[in-house]
Symmetry: none
Subunit: 192 residues, 2 copies
């Protein structure tokens, strides 16, 4: 069964970004079209042929230095905040957030945005993340805007505040996290 051209081309680009060493023949098999269609698609999308891609990868300088994250406490820009209820922040994915080889955002930026929003939504500036459960739904690319929404869901039996954070690109969920937060004002014990 064949998908529409626009969708196929979108997936083609993603596939080549994720597996740059794939041949046109393999792509034709994968998308159930002819090799000429793949080549027409690549031409329309300005995606170079396999050997050019291999050469680009080989030529690229991989030894990037680790980039320090921004010094702000909040990753992203808070655009809505209701303490102890909910908050929203946005993060525009720039090239400093992505792996240069495939323009995919590093997971820890998504986590950093979500985590800092979870801390920010709590009416306690000394709140700490004790535990979190993260789900990465799909890769985020340079140029996309991540909207993170945090909801305070209550306190569990251990006295930790539960904050759920869901992140979206264009109403498509790309990440979700469950954050179990210490509040400094409700700590049962103070140990380090």
């Amino acid at each position: 069964m064949r998908i529409p051209k626009v969708k196929r081309q979108e997936k083609l680009r993603e596939t080549i970004e994720e597996t740059p060493f794939i041949t046109d023949e393999e792509l034709a098999n994968k998308f159930n079209v002819s090799i000429q269609t793949i080549r027409l698609d690549r031409m329309e999308l300005s995606i170079p042929e396999l050997r050019e891609r291999i050469k680009s990868v080989a030529n690229h300088q991989w030894n990037e230095t680790v980039k320090s994250l921004p010094l702000e406490d909040v990753i992203g820009e808070i655009i809505d905040l209701e303490l102890d209820k909910r908050a929203i922040s946005i993060l525009d994915i720039g090239k400093e957030h992505v792996f240069t080889r495939n323009n995919i955002a590093r997971g820890h930026h998504l986590f950093a945005q979500a985590n800092s929003l979870a801390v920010a939504v709590i009416n306690d500036e000394l709140a700490l993340t004790a535990k979190s459960v993260l789900n990465f739904k799909r890769q985020v690319r340079q140029g996309e805007r991540v909207v993170a929404k945090a909801f305070v869901e209550g306190i569990n039996e251990k006295g930790l505040t539960l904050v759920q954070v869901d992140s979206f690109v264009d109403s498509e969920k790309v990440f979700s996290g469950e954050f179990h937060m210490y509040r400094s004002t409700e700590k049962k014990e103070n140990n380090e």
Copy 2:
């Protein structure tokens, strides 16, 4: 003026090691011999042709040793690596890692170190984090050294590879994470 064969072949090997993207034609011009001679030389020296060399570099297999790092941006310094088994990295917490108001390391740096180590330990450079469960045990301060240790624990029923990462400061556990990783070579389905 032409140099003897043995010397030429020695210089040929050196030249290709220094500039692996050089063509046979360029080598023939450089050594003042025919392109067939270069090809005979390469055959005798078991030096692969240009496209194979480019492919090797691109695949990061050229001169790969255990101490060569995988192509991910690793947070921290890998000091031990056994692919698909275990890895260790260290991260010295500087002021760029901490909140300025209390010198406490932000959680996402610990996560970033652990996550990148979980990716690095997997023998698949396209590995992705699908899900993770994080436990922050205590705060980490500026000036402390975080030693993260990753162990590949196996594959769960969903086909994801489980990697456990524990981080220590002076043999005291400060963080633990359970990472559920996609491998590109074992994907059960391709959805997004």
